[in-house]
Structure formats: C-alpha cells, structure tokens
C-alpha cells in the first residue's frame, strides 16, 4: 500500500485527513455513555449495578436503595471526573497545538494559517526553535549544504541533535523556486516506525533533475521535533493529524496486572461463589420456614395463593443482604494507596541521582506491590550495570599492543612516538577512528570542538583520535575536515553504510579530496570484521588481542579499510542507491548491497574501550541475590566481556565456588548436545552449594528458542544465574516471555532503545535514564538514575507496598464479611426472611466511611525499619512467596470475621435481651460493637503509628459517635434519639468493652 503525495497541488489535497491532532478519548456528547461503558466493562461494577437495580424492587430490598446507589454513584463520579479532567487537559493541549500559526505556501505565496489546516502536499515553513507541526519531507533549509538539525526528544527521548538532509534532487533550489516546486512523493501508508521511511520523490519539470530520488528517515522532519541551529527549513507535508508517525504510535498500553491484583480478583471470585452458596442455602431455608412456620404466624399474614415469583423473593433478599460481602470501596481504596506508593517513589530522596539530576519516577502507579514479589531480574549490561561512559584504554595496531603497562593507550609513549613518526598503520588507524562514525563536531565560539554522538563508543573513539592529534574538526554535509599535525585534510563522505544490530558493523565510503582516492572504512564487532580480512592477512594477533581485552572486561572494536577503484565504487554506488530507494524490504536489500562492498579488508587494528561499573553495582546484586532474586544478564556484548563484567559485579563466582556452563555450537546438533550436557550437570549439582550459571550466545539461543524450548525452560527453572550475550532486542523480550510463562515475576532493567521491548514485556520494566537517551525510561514502569537504586526500590518500596496492600485488601474483605455475617446471624432469629438488622444509613456509612478511611493510613505503616530490611534482605522471601496474601491468610481473615461476627452478635443479643430487645437500639449496639472491633483490629495489625494514623483511627472512632449522635437528633431519621439513649446506659459501655476483649482470644 502506498500513498502518493502531490506537492503543492490543491486538487489532491482532500484525499487525506487534515492536520487536526486529537488525543482526546471522549467528546462532549459521547463522554457519558462511553465512560459508563468503559467502567461497566469491569466485573465488579457490573455486579454492583445489578445489586443496585435489584434494590429498586421494594419487595425484596432489605434497605433503602440509596445505600448502594449512593456509594456506587460516588465511585463512578470520582473515576469519571478524573477521566474527564485528564481528557479536558488533553483537549486543551491539542487545541493549542492545532491553533498554532504556521506558514505554508498556497498559490505560490506564503500564508499564515493554523496548524490544523495543513493538508497533505502543502509546503510548510519552519523557523529555528519551532516545533514541526506534522510529518514533512525536507525540501529546503537555510544552510547551503542542505542540512538542518533537529531535536527529537519528544519523539524518542534522545537528547542529542540529529542532522537531517534534503534529498539530492532538491539540492540547490533557492527559496523562490521552493515556492513553486511541484512533484510527487511515493511513500508507504502511515505507520509508527520512527526509524524508517522508505519512500521516493520525483520532481516535475521544469525542475532539472526529475529522476526518482530515494528518501529515508534522514530526509524527514517528524511531528513534535524541534528545529535547532538552523535558521529555517521547509518541507512537504506527507502525514498529517493523527496519521503522523507520532500519532500512529500513540496507543494505550495494555494495563499491567500485579500478582496481588490477580490474587485479589481470585479471592473476590471465591467470595462471590460463597455468597451464592449462602443465598441458595438461606433462600431455600427461608422458603421452607415460610411454608412451615411463617404461615402459622397469623400476624405476618401471608396470602395462601401467591404469584409464582414469590419463591424468588427470599433468595433475592438474601442476595441483597449479602451483596456487601464484596466491599464496594476496595477498588477506590486500592487505587488510592497505589498512587501513594508511586508518589513515595517519586518523592524519595535516597533514590535521587545527584549526578544527572534525576529523581526516580513511577510512571505506572498501579504495580508497586509487584516490586516486592520479583523473582527474576533481567538486566542489560551496558549503561545499566556499567556507567556507559566509554574511555579509550588500549589498542592493538598492526600487531603491537599499546597501553598495556599504564592501562591507558593515550599515555603510552610508544603510541605517541608512533604518531609523531607518522607511522602509516597508526595514522590509518586513527583516521578510521576519526572518520568512520556519525559524530557531529560542534565548534563553540571559543574554538574548542565538542562532539555530539549517538553512540558512546564512537564518542570515545573520536575523542581518543583527537587526543592523538587526528582531530575531526568539522563535518558539513558531505565534507569532513581533519586536522593532523597542523595539516588540514579534506574528505568527501560519499556513502554511509549504517550500523544495524544484525550486521554488527558500519562502514563509510570517503574520497580524499586531494588525491581523489576512494576508501572504504569499516568498524565493527570482531566477528563481523575479522572474517572480512583479505586473504593472507595474519589475523592471529588480532584474535589474541581481542581475547585479551575481553578478559579485562573491555569492549573491543575492530577497524579495517580498503581502497576502492573508481569503477568498483560507481558500480556499487548504483546498486546502493537502488536498494536505498526500494519501498519493500529496504533494510534487507541495503544490507545485502553493503555486504558486496565490505570484503577483503585490510584489518588495521583493535580498539579497546573501557566501560566502568556503576557505583554500588556488586553490592546491590549481592543483596538482591540474598533476598532470593535470580539475575539474568542479557547483553549485546561478546561472551568474554560479558563474563568478565559478570564476575566483577558478583553475578557469578569464579571457581571453585561457582561454575560456568557454556552452551554453544554453530549447528543445531552441537547446540542440542551442549544444551543437554549443561542440563545434566545442572540437575546433578543442583543440590550442591555450588553457584552454577550458564552462558549462552545469541546464535545458540536462536536455535534453542525455536527448537528446544522445553529443555531450555527446564534449564531456566534450575538456573539462578544466566548470561546471555550477543542477544538481539527481540531475543531479550523472548527470554522475558519464557520466564513469564513459567509463572515467575520478572523485572527487566535496561537503559537503551534495545531494551525497550524487554522492558515492555516484563511484569515490571525499569528504565535507567542514561546516556543512551530516555527511550528505555519512557517505556518503563519505573525510571531511576542508577542501577544501585534498584535495591531500595525493591526492598523498601516494593516490600512496604506488598505488605500494605496485603493488609488493606484482606481487611476490606474482613470488615465487609463481619457486617454481613452479623446480618446472616440475625436472619436466624428473624424467621430467615431477610430482615436487615442495620438501617440503610449505617450500612452505607459503615462501608464507605467508618471502615474505609482509617485503614487508608496503612500507607504509612512500616513493619520493619528500612535499615533492618536492607540488612536482612532474606526477609523479602516472605513477599516473593506471597506469604501475606494467599488463600490461607485470606481464610484466616475470613475465619476471624466469622468469629468476630458471632461474638458481637451473641454478646449483643444476650446483653440486650428481653425488655431491651428494641430493634433500633440493638442494631446500633451491634454496629458500635463492629466499629469498636475494627478500630482495635486496625490498631493491632499496624506495626508503627504516626500521629496521622492515630488521628485517622481514633478520629474516625470519634466521628462515628458524633455522626450518629447528630443523626439521632433528626426525628424523621430511623434512629431518632437512639444514640443518646445508648450513651446514657452503663450497660451499653459495658457491652462494648467486653466485645473488644474477645479479639485477644
């Protein structure tokens, strides 16, 4: 499917949507129905609605319908208001964006219009520091080289400036011509891939070059980017409104459900079944009693011939009586405490990173409890465990290893001498270092040069080269300028063969402006470059050097070059251009063409870059492993480097304490055998106190994941530690999925774009707002500044959240069951007819206020101090195993509520027997008994008390009396004077006191 965009042609403009952005979920008209529909998709809400509707039938309702409708409407109104407010804010910001004034070309003249009126095909003019209003194909800029710089932070979170170039066919058009330009752009239908734009452009006569010219993402200005360091730029609108790359990728992510939520849902289901059972049993018993006993009770005056539906009346009454078993307030309470947990994370000073000025942030406010239940952590290496601050340390040029003694090649006299002596190999090596990259040098007014690089490795290489006097001074469009020993060398960059994670290398084709010679410069992973060496080159020294460096934990890159003949280049260049303008499978085609050029390289040497571990990484891993969390390291780096880093950060132990098992092989059989062997060892030694870990590389992993998934799953269960190297982003995500399928709680932590898929896949995604941009942090549920904060996030925040939610949710059921059991017990002394002991106001207030508010202060409860927890990380095992919320703890609470209900009820009916057994008084005595009990249960269950907790618990207690005394002054209310009477009776207070002591037993 393609889209043809006719530049500046009014007649085609109406084929596509206008540029009106709409992020809103609702309109004014559909808000109510749509929002209600969304809310009623939840089972709980359907249940409450059904109950509320049943209550409208006055024959069966035990209480005033308002007692359910009231809370239901309040709860609905609260969440609807929140939605409406969010949506209104979105509407306002959309409106601002839509009404922003932009310049477009209409009928050959520039006009100022609102951004929402831009149509596909319009030419849009943007000035410096302005936001791009829709997706544009660049046609002109103020810079003579036809480039401009954009900041794409809003799109992908990367903060460096990116260079965008105008298509070759548009080069040289002046501003006057740009107004009149006509042509057609052939581009794919809108998609959300912000790294790809496989299109082409053809200008119509009279424009000189009406060949088809390929377009890539480098020729575009995407919506939401900012134009920087460029006076103006203009482009043709290709995607508008919600069809832009940004608009397409907007989407509501799947809400994540925590293990606790799932458990609470399950328990709710169980309670629901229990409720049905109660209804069936009591309903039938009620009908039997009615027929055998109630008909004899003449004063009840049952009719002898009743309509058939009378048989349903008593069961339905019990359904309504028991409907409070499922607490209506639990959802709201949970939402509240969860957002508090998230706030506590945002506010936490101790996980604020001073160095980069990043506070921790919980983007997903709903899953904090899961942090306390993590079983597997899958971590990226570079930038997550390490600082991602690359420093050029050593190199091996033409068989000589530099930087071995001092550990810093830049200070190695030999290398400095070699540079001074113009040693050809060294110079070539440094030239490749300086040129073979996508770094942008920026010259400050004072003359110093700084580099803007997307890759930290490239940054390190260019800086090292400049320290060794090969300085990349400027890069203007296709021209690069290098200063070497006060000599200026000009190069023209002909083509860039970009880095992809499949190719694992990048190359650049340059021509020396002086000699006109054409060179291919390549750099990449050793296994991607070394096989390309020309026949006869001795690569053994390089292989040895790579091994040696890897053992030191250094990242190695292999550099090579080749001189190209003009014919060869021209021939290849044509193919390359063709591949680049392909609309289908472009990436694959380009890779194939690139391979045609990248061969018979002259390997120049190996560079070794150090990436230091972040502070506190070994300690953090140690503590988290003590707390029973298993670590898997997933990295794109090579095996030996990965193992080295793993050793450094305590992930694995060296012999004899630990043992590393390798799964490798090139063919399927080899891999299968290797896997079998490892699995066998793992099974045998799993009882020994030896720390086993396995290592697998991306190649073997690919085979395993497609062929031997079951065996690998078993291995995954057995192994506490694993190192997976050379893995691609999708493999990372697959591994997460695999562990998830074994019912483990997984946490994925990473810092770069290649971790995004894994982060989104895992139960909990943690992003490190690192040097590789904010992509990972944006995609993650939690973002932190440093790896070591993970300790606090899990042990402190996760654990507290788990404990608090466990208490809150079970308590919510406890208090609902308590009141419900009292009702059920009362039905046994009221002829099983479904009389409600409590009046409507009390029932509603009990659920919504008296018992809901004090327990919310559980967000302040700390069972153990933060210090104790971090000193004894094993305690987290309790949370992981779900010790505080599971069917048996729930059964405990269930039993407790039954016991409390029986005691309260028995005490009440015995203390208030005979002449005192007045309905309203007795109901109030039972209710007060429940309130006293719940206040003491909350007090007993909390471990620490701040003044806020005291205030909430005892304030609520006092409020119960104040409210009920107030209601008792209203003659029309059901309980007129009741509370005053009770408070004056000594027997009331004596009854209360004995009610609470029963919780000691």
């Amino acid at each position: 499917m393609k889209r043809f965009v006719y530049i500046n042609d009014e007649s085609y403009q109406n084929d596509y949507c206008d540029n009106q952005i709409s992020n809103t979920k609702y309109t004014l008209w559909n808000f109510l129905p749509k929002n209600l529909w969304e809310q009623f998709r939840r089972f709980m809400n359907q249940y409450f609605l059904l109950i509320a509707c049943l209550q409208l039938w006055s024959l069966i309702t035990p209480v005033n319908p308002a007692s359910t409708w009231g809370p239901l409407i309040v709860i609905f109104a609260v969440s609807a208001t929140k939605e409406a407010w969010d949506d209104y804010n979105r509407y306002i910001s959309d409106k601002q964006a839509n009404e922003k004034k932009v310049w477009i070309v209409k009928n050959g003249a520039r006009k100022h219009i609102q951004a929402q009126d831009i149509r596909v095909g319009n030419i849009v003019w943007i000035r410096e520091n302005e936001e791009v209003p829709c997706d544009l194909v660049l046609t002109g800029t103020s810079e003579p080289q036809g480039i401009c710089h954009v900041e794409t932070a809003a799109l992908d979170g990367e903060i460096d400036l990116k260079t965008r170039v105008i298509p070759t066919t548009c080069i040289g058009l002046d501003s006057e011509q740009l107004h009149k330009i006509k042509g057609v752009i052939e581009c794919p239908i809108p998609d959300k891939d912000i790294r790809r734009f496989d299109a082409n452009i053809r200008l119509f006569p009279p424009f000189i070059d009406n060949d088809i010219c390929p377009l890539t993402i480098n020729n575009t200005l995407l919506q939401s980017c900012y134009l920087r360091n460029t006076e103006w730029a203009c482009g043709v609108a290709v995607y508008t409104g919600n069809e832009t790359k940004l608009g397409m990728s907007r989407g509501v992510p799947e809400p994540k459900l925590t293990a606790m939520d799932a458990m609470i849902d399950k328990l709710t289901g169980a309670i629901f079944l229990f409720q049905l059972a109660v209804v069936v049993v009591l309903g039938s018993a009620g009908n039997v009693w009615k027929d055998t006993e109630a008909r004899k009770q003449w004063y009840v005056k049952y009719d002898d011939d009743e309509p058939w539906y009378q048989i349903l009346v008593i069961p339905l009454r019990f359904e309504l009586l028991c409907s409070i078993m499922i607490p209506i307030s639990i959802k709201v309470s949970l939402d509240f405490v969860k957002s508090m947990y998230a706030k506590f994370i945002d506010w936490d000073e101790e996980i604020y990173d001073q160095e980069t000025d990043t506070p921790a942030h919980a983007a997903n406010t709903a899953i904090s409890e899961d942090l306390g239940q993590v079983e597997y952590i899958l971590t990226d290496k570079t930038g997550t465990l390490t600082e991602n601050k690359m420093i050029f340390r050593r190199c091996c040029i033409a068989g000589t290893l530099y930087g071995n003694e001092s550990g810093d090649a830049l200070k190695d006299i030999e290398l400095l001498n070699a540079v001074a002596d113009n040693s050809p190999h060294v110079i070539k090596f440094l030239t490749v270092m300086a040129l073979c990259n996508t770094v942008i040098p920026i010259k400050s007014p004072s003359g110093t040069i700084s580099y803007k690089a997307q890759s930290q490795d490239e940054d390190a290489l260019v800086n090292a080269a400049s320290n060794l006097h090969v300085v990349l001074v400027s890069k203007n469009g296709n021209n690069a300028e290098i200063h070497f020993n006060r000599r200026v060398i000009q190069y023209e960059i002909l083509d860039i063969l970009e880095f992809t994670s499949d190719r694992k290398r990048m190359s650049i084709v340059i021509s020396d402006s002086q000699s006109g010679k054409i060179f291919l410069l390549s750099k990449g992973a050793d296994e991607a470059i070394l096989p390309l060496a020309y026949c006869g080159q001795q690569i053994k020294t390089f292989v040895d050097a790579v091994d040696k460096y890897a053992q030191l934990g250094l990242r190695t890159l292999c550099l090579g070059w080749r001189e190209l003949s003009l014919e060869e280049y021209l021939e290849w260049s044509r193919l390359f251009k063709e591949a680049n303008s392909a609309l289908v499978d472009r990436e694959w085609k380009v890779a194939e063409v690139c391979q045609k050029l990248e061969h018979t390289l002259d390997i120049l040497g190996i560079s070794a870059i150090e990436d230091r571990l972040q502070d506190g990484v070994p300690e953090t891993i140690e503590i988290l492993r003590q707390s029973g969390i298993n670590f898997w390291m997933l990295t794109g780096d090579k095996q030996s480097t990965a193992i080295q880093i793993a050793l450094l950060c305590n992930l694995i132990s060296s012999e004899p304490k630990g043992q590393l098992l390798y799964i490798n092989g090139k063919t399927e059989d080899e891999v299968a055998r290797s896997l079998e062997r490892v699995l066998l060892t793992m099974r045998i030694t799993s009882s020994e106190p030896k720390e086993l870990a396995f290592v697998v590389d991306g190649w073997a992993l690919e085979i395993i994941l497609t062929r031997y998934k079951e065996a690998f799953t078993e291995l995954a269960v057995l192994s506490k530690t694993a190192i997976c190297c050379r893995v691609t982003p999708s493999q990372k995500a697959q591994l997460v999925k695999l562990l998830k399928s074994c019912d483990y709680r997984t946490l994925a932590i990473g810092d770069g774009g290649n971790d995004v898929r894994m982060i989104q896949q895992a139960h909990i995604g943690v992003g490190i707002s690192g040097r590789e941009g904010l992509q990972a942090a944006r995609a993650a549920d939690y973002s932190i500044g440093k790896f070591r904060f993970l300790k606090r996030l899990i042990l402190v925040h996760g654990r507290y959240s788990y404990n608090r939610t466990a208490f809150l949710s079970q308590y919510s059921f406890y208090k609902s069951l308590l009141i419900c059991f009292i009702q059920i017990l009362f039905s046994f002394v009221s002829g099983i007819a479904g009389t409600s002991l409590f009046n409507s106001v009390s029932l509603m207030a009990y659920n919504v206020f008296y018992t809901s508010i004090p327990v919310l202060t559980t967000v302040l409860d700390k069972d153990l101090s933060e210090k104790t927890v971090t000193q004894n990380p094993e305690i987290l095992l309790y949370c992981q195993a779900g010790r505080l919320l599971n069917p048996s703890t729930f059964a405990g609470w269930f039993g407790r509520s039954l016991y409390h209900a029986i005691v309260v009820f028995l005490i009440t009916i015995h203390a208030y027997a005979n002449e005192k057994s007045e309905m309203e008084e007795l109901s109030m005595v039972a209710l007060s008994g429940s309130i006293w009990l719940q206040a003491f249960v909350v007090t007993l269950e909390m471990s620490s008390f701040t003044f806020l907790q005291f205030l909430a618990i005892w304030g609520n207690f006092a409020a119960f009396y104040v409210i009920n005394l107030c209601i008792s002054t209203i003659p029309t209310a059901g309980m007129y004077t009741i509370m005053f009477r009770l408070c004056r009776q000594p027997s009331y207070w004596i009854t209360m006191l004995v009610s609470i002591t029963i919780m000691f037993f």
Binding site: P253, N914, V994
Partner: protein, 348 residues
C-alpha cells in the same frame, strides 16, 4: 507506552522547552519533608512477653470487679414470671386451644395467683413477654408508615403498609400496617388481698416517640374494621400520641422473645405477699405455639434481671488472669526471644 509520554510533549510544545530551561537552572531533587520520605516519627509498640502479660493482667484486674458488680446488680433485681397462656385455657379445651381463642363467645377472663419471693421496691415494672413471636420478620417489620403517624396531613399515605392499607371499601387505615393491626390486647389488673394495686400506664412509651413520632392530631380511623380482627381496637377519639400501648408495641423487638412494658406499680411489695392477677387472655399465640408470660420486675442501674454481662466479665477477666499467669510461667520456664531481639529473622 513510550509514545504516551511524548504525546503530551507534542501538544504543549512550548512547555517542553521551558521545562528544559528550568531543569538546567534548578535541580529536580525531591523536596525533603518527613512525610514524603516516610520518616514521620512513629511509635512502634512491640508485643514483648512483658507487654502481653501486663495487658492480660490489667484486663483481668479490671474485668473481674466489673463482673462482680454487674452480677450483684442483677442479683438485686426481683422478678416474678408467670406463664399463663396454657393455664388460662379451660381444661376442656386444652386439646383445641385455637378454637378456644377464636371463639368470641367463650369468656377469656382468667385469674392467676402470684407469690412475691423477695421484697420488691417500687416502681415495679409490669411486662408482658411473648415467645416465638417474630416482630422482626421482614414482612412484619416493614409494614408501617411513619409519615402517617407523624403528620395528620399524610394520614392518607399508606405506602409500605401492605397488606393492611385499606379497608374493604378502600378507605385508608390509620394506623396502617401489620404491626398496628396485631396490637397486643391482653389486659391485667392486680390486687393484694383486698387492696387494689393500680397499674400506672402513663409514660410507658418513649417520650421522644410520643412527642415526635406519633402526632397529637392524628386519630385512629378505619382501624380494625376488616373481616379479620388482628388485635386490640383503638379508641378513635384519643390521638395516637396518647395511645401508649400502641406506641410501645410499635417499637418492634429485634428478637423473637421480648418483653414490653405494660405499666408500673408504685407500691412496695413484701416477701410472701400474694397477688391476684385478673387478666383477659385475648391474644392469639396458640396458632404458632408462642408463650405468653406476665413479668413483674424491679430494675437497677444496669436494667433488669440479666446476669449475662456479669458472667461474661467474670469469664473474660478470669481467662485473662489465667493467661497472664500461664504466659509468665511459660516465659520463666522457657524464655523465647522475640523476633525483634533476634535481629536476624530466619525464613524457612
């Protein structure tokens, strides 16, 4: 997810740039406060053995005396209970009590002799007690209309009074509903020897009910006019606020066994006094096997003769003291460190 955040960034483009500037100028470090850092001063009660033992001991020490006092109060109450529903049926009709109670031609008068066991100080409360009578039945308890009783303008509203809303010819009943319809109609009068013991029926209902729930200007109308007579008839010239028996009856009981105040006797009774009760046994409890009892009782600060609370306190208090001793012994014989004292917690 990633785009979710940036969507906001697009639309309010300006603020993105401002935010960047602000970021450079001032730090994004969270503001310190004890609340945000979860460091509010908190007291942390730990249930050490000492604490537990002292609490139990204290509760025991408080509860036992309270229990004793309550029991003594209950013991002070003198109570005479006389079940008469069975005895008042003529001997020839004990097999068919229902026929007896339904036959209006048979006299329902009956005489009972009570002996005072202990001295009874005035006021002596006269109660009637019904057993197995479900005033709390769903159908019964809802069958009333409070607005009608309270407000003469609403005397025609009889909603929720089913099945006693209208007379056969469609006139609204005041007071409507099953409760009023089934008003208790046994009567008692007492003599000691020759001396008449007056039963004072004034102020037997709650003052608040007389003043606010039953109006002075609402009079019974169309009451007990149907084919089926439930209970007592009301004098239609007396306003509801003065129909105290009705008001008492309409304070429905929460339990199937209940007592309702019939009146008070302001005479001291001495031990071994014999009291003759003349009663008319009108009310039908025979159809459902309910008992009717006449109760004469004195009262104390704690109410009537109910030793439940006293025993409950003694049992709880005794149990607490026992546990306190048991725990102390256990602690002395086999001291066990509290988790908190152990410092490290073993998890199994």
């Amino acid at each position: 997810m990633m785009m979710d955040g940036s969507a906001a960034g697009t639309s309010n483009g300006g603020s993105g740039a401002d935010g960047d500037a602000a970021r450079r100028n001032n730090t994004r470090m969270p503001k310190y406060s004890k609340f945000t850092q979860q460091e509010l001063p908190a007291c942390k009660p730990i249930l050490t053995p000492k604490w537990v033992v002292s609490v139990f001991f204290l509760v025991g020490v408080v509860f036992v005396p309270v229990g004793v006092v309550s029991l003594l109060a209950a013991q002070d109450v003198v109570e005479i209970i006389d079940r008469y529903d069975h005895a008042c049926v003529p001997p020839n009709m004990t097999d068919n009590k229902l026929a007896y109670i339904k036959n209006d031609t048979i006299s329902k008068e009956c005489t009972r002799i009570l002996t005072v066991t202990k001295e009874m100080k005035q006021p002596i409360y006269v109660y009637y007690q019904l057993d197995n009578f479900y005033q709390n039945h769903r159908r019964y308890v809802k069958s009333r209309n409070d607005a009608q009783l309270r407000d003469y303008k609403k005397s025609n509203t009889t909603t929720s009074c089913d099945p006693e809303r209208f007379t056969a010819d469609g006139k609204p009943i005041v007071p409507c509903g099953l409760i009023a319809w089934s008003l208790f109609n046994d009567t008692y009068s007492f003599t000691r020897g020759k001396e008449n013991l007056t039963v004072n029926k004034k102020d037997i209902s709650w003052k608040s009910d007389r003043e606010h729930k039953f109006a002075k200007n609402v009079y019974p109308s169309n009451f007990q006019n149907g084919a089926l007579i439930g209970g007592k008839k009301l004098n239609s010239s007396i306003p509801l606020s003065e129909q105290e028996d009705l008001i008492v009856w309409m304070r429905t009981a929460a339990l199937p066994t209940f007592r309702k105040l019939y009146g008070r006797i302001y005479v001291d009774l001495k031990a071994n006094d014999t009291i003759t009760v003349r009663l008319s046994n009108n009310y039908n409890t025979y159809s459902f096997g309910g008992k009717k009892k006449l109760v004469l009782s004195t009262a104390t600060w704690l109410g009537g003769k109910n030793d439940f609370l006293g025993f409950a306190y003694l049992i709880v208090g005794g149990l607490c003291i026992f546990l306190a001793f048991a725990f102390t012994l256990l602690y002395l014989i086999k001291p066990r460190l509290v988790a908190f004292e152990l410092r490290s917690i073993t998890v199994k």
